[in-house]
């Protein structure tokens, strides 16, 4: 039977198992919206296209499924760029569909025309301009396949108006066939054995796990592997939750705002086992002095990640879960006994670092410390919730003080560092899990970048709890000015801020405020008890800093502790 492009689009989404779509309509996608009117796919009308993409991204990170967004041409499409770049940097599987002017007008500077395929080429895993409705079903199939397979990432599909209204026979392909795309899942057995030999010989090993462990659903394998071989584990910002935060083997996060013991352990290790991590500059500090004595094993599905920033001794291209499973299958037998004795000295050294310095803050009677708010959020929820963050100090305090036990509970823009990400991402996660507690740990600056989404949360009864750590500053930038620019706070003080409580009320949400430490917990309890979305405004110490801190470009051992 012949179908229109719009019908093919909606039917293909259903075939891909899409239940929820985040979108914003406009002229060229009207026909799609007309089909959606009768469809059982839930469409969530955001208030800005950037938020549609972040929501799809949050949905994807929380569920492991592909998130989907739909926008119109021109400004609708260009508004997705930050969302795509955010998802690209963090390897999040999403598919964004944009409307486009009819093919005969492309290149004519038509009304609401933008070359979105050209614009997003460097911030998507791949993108498509559909030029003929007969290719639409195949391209949608490929888009979903590309988004979720290999190293996941965002894919954009641009849909000209005439493709949307055109008609063709509809057959949804069973599989996607791309002759230039064959991700490697199986790790090379010889390399795996070499890595195990190195681990066996090592007396100072550290596992350095990144977001790839979460993307490949390998947390359980990683945990079992580290526990069986008694390997200390540190994770990147993106890897938080890949290993249980309460496990004695956990060193905390490494890098610029990592723990003292994690950074010291990495710097003194004789073997680094990197899994699904990419040696980002925020992690390594001064690259020549990163893990200077360590042999490096690197497991990654993306060959370009290997030996990009540091020379790797034992590369293993493959899927983290697959490789860890193979490794687990090989570590039986007598030679793998006595691990505790073999690593006793190393564990003692790490314990000494832990004692020498652990993160702390002094919560007094008068002023709320932002870290205290994070700890109270953790305590009040028992840690059993999904946490998103904005960017800045709020993000780092959340990373340091909200102990995560499980994967897919942590939504943060690690690679791009996108202020305004957390709230719409939380909305996306809440749409996927209506019954879970979803908290956005926010800054007073960041939250204003997508504050309009309060309307979305209220309209769709998505009870996201936003906790603003309100310091009156673009705090992280202020901290750098304090440390490296002589306290010259150039344009980081936000002298005018909205009354967040009234703002919440204006949108029909609940607004709450705490100005003294004693009010923190009651506000949190009230927020958690409230059935709808809540904006909590915590007035925190305006000049609190994030520590430890490795100044940009310094080696990891040169931490400012304070």
């Amino acid at each position: 039977m012949e179908r229109t492009g719009a019908e093919i689009f909606v039917e293909s989404l259903r075939k891909e198992g899409v239940h929820t779509l985040f979108g914003y309509p406009g002229g060229v996608v009207l026909n799609i919206y007309d089909v959606l009117y009768d469809s059982d796919i839930r469409h969530i009308l955001v208030r800005h296209e950037q938020a549609a993409v972040h929501a799809a991204d949050g949905y994807a990170r929380a569920t492991g499924e592909v998130g989907v967004a739909l926008v119109t041409s021109g400004p609708g499409a260009t508004n997705t760029v930050t969302g795509l770049a955010t998802a690209y940097m963090d390897s999040v599987p999403i598919v964004v569909f944009s409307g486009q002017v009819p093919t005969h007008l492309i290149g004519n500077d038509a009304f609401q025309e933008a070359d979105i395929v050209g614009i997003t080429r460097p911030c998507t895993k791949h993108n498509y301009l559909v030029k003929d409705v007969r290719n639409l079903a195949r391209i949608i199939k490929e888009a979903f396949y590309l988004a979720r397979s290999g190293r996941p990432g965002p894919v954009l599909v641009d849909l000209p108006k005439d493709v949307i209204v055109g008609r063709t026979e509809y057959v949804y392909p069973e599989t996607a066939k791309l002759r230039g795309y064959n991700p490697t899942y199986e790790g090379h057995l010889g390399q795996i054995k070499k890595a195990l030999k190195a681990i066996h010989e090592s007396r100072r090993p550290v596992v350095y796990a990144g977001g790839g462990v979460i993307l490949s659903n390998a947390s359980r394998e990683l945990t079992e592997f580290a526990r069986r071989l008694r390997l200390p584990v540190t994770t990147t910002l993106m890897g938080l939750g890949a290993f249980p935060g309460s496990d004695p083997l956990f060193l905390g996060m490494l890098g610029m705002h990592g723990t003292y013991r994690a950074n010291m352990a990495v710097s003194h290790a004789d073997l680094l086992v990197a899994v699904g991590a990419r040696f980002d500059d925020r992690v390594t500090g001064k690259i020549d002095e990163f893990a200077p004595n360590a042999k490096i094993v690197h497991v990654d599905i993306d060959p370009t990640s290997i030996s990009k920033n540091v020379q790797v001794d034992i590369p293993i291209v493959g899927d983290a879960k697959n490789v860890l499973k193979k490794m687990l299958g090989l570590v039986h037998g007598a030679e793998w006994g006595g691990r505790d004795e073999a690593l006793q000295g190393w564990h003692a050294e790490i314990e000494a670092w832990r004692r020498a310095h652990h993160m702390d803050y002094g919560q007094g009677e008068e002023v709320i410390k932002p870290q205290y708010v994070v700890e109270q959020l953790h305590e009040a929820t028992g840690g059993r919730c999904i946490v998103s963050t904005e960017v800045g100090q709020n993000q780092m305090w959340a990373a340091q003080y909200f102990r995560l036990e499980e994967p897919r509970c942590w939504l943060t823009s690690g690679g791009l560092g996108t202020m305004g990400y957390g709230f719409p991402a939380a909305i996306g996660a809440q749409a996927a899990f209506p019954d879970r507690v979803v908290i956005d740990i926010a800054g007073d600056g960041s939250i204003q970048m997508n504050i309009q989404e309060l309307a979305t949360a209220v309209q769709y009864e998505l009870p996201v709890k936003v906790a603003i750590l309100n310091n009156g500053f673009l705090g992280m930038v202020r901290q750098w000015q304090e440390l490296f620019y002589d306290r010259r706070y150039s344009h980081t003080r936000m002298d005018v801020a909205p009354d967040f409580v009234k703002l919440a009320e204006a949108y029909g949400a609940l607004g709450l405020r705490a100005t003294r430490p004693g009010e923190v917990r009651p506000v949190i309890e009230q927020a958690l008890a409230h059935p709808g979305p809540v904006l909590m405004d915590f007035h925190v110490d305006p000049e609190e800093g994030v520590y430890p801190m490795v100044p940009a470009g310094a080696p990891l051992t040169k931490m400012l502790l304070l």
Binding site: V117, G118, R121, P122, K125, H126, L129, L146, L178, R179, G180, Y181, D302, P303, T304, S307, K308, Q311
Partner: protein, 162 residues
């Protein structure tokens, strides 16, 4: 180190932009690039001449392979491939230079393809060394304009194409 890399790609719109964008976005050099359809009309071949230390070349090759529309990437090794470039050179033609130009074209098996009262335009085809030599020898005679195709390359026989 200079490397010559052959890249087989899907013959689709936008593929050249993807490859060029990869180089510009990541700060890699392109010394020359030529591209055209192969015997299979759905596939094009690009020959890219680039520069970088071993780590950069490794990244370039891996990043090229990562592109969805790229089918095959071959780093061509010195001495194991044939390469050709075509240049057109407009040279000042005076009573003194004319015989020299003719002599050089004879030696390098080039052709005079256009003549004007004051210039000769010559066409030379050859490998990198030959082209360099011709240009060096023509320069003192007064080069007015040079147009080059960039090189195309092919592995020598026995290596089953690529």
């Amino acid at each position: 180190m200079r490397h010559t890399i052959n890249v087989l790609v899907e013959n689709e719109f936008g593929v050249l932009a993807r490859v060029a964008g990869l180089f510009s976005g990541r700060g890699f050099n392109i010394d020359s690039l030529s591209v055209a359809e192969t015997q299979d009309p759905t596939v094009s071949l690009m020959t890219i001449v680039t520069r970088g230390d071993d780590q950069i070349i490794e990244q370039i090759i891996k990043q090229l392979r990562k592109l969805v529309n790229v089918l095959k990437v071959t780093d061509l090794h010195e001495g194991q491939y044939l390469d050709r470039e075509l240049v057109l050179v407009k040279v000042t033609a005076t009573a003194e230079t004319k015989p020299e130009i003719l002599r050089l074209m004879d030696i390098f098996r080039g052709k005079i393809v256009d003549v004007s009262p004051k210039t000769y335009t010559v066409e030379v085809t050859g490998g990198e060394d030959k082209i360099r030599a011709v240009l060096e020898l023509l320069r003192p005679l007064g080069i007015k304009e040079v147009v080059r195709t960039g090189k195309v390359a092919m592995p020598r026989g026995m290596q089953n194409g690529g």
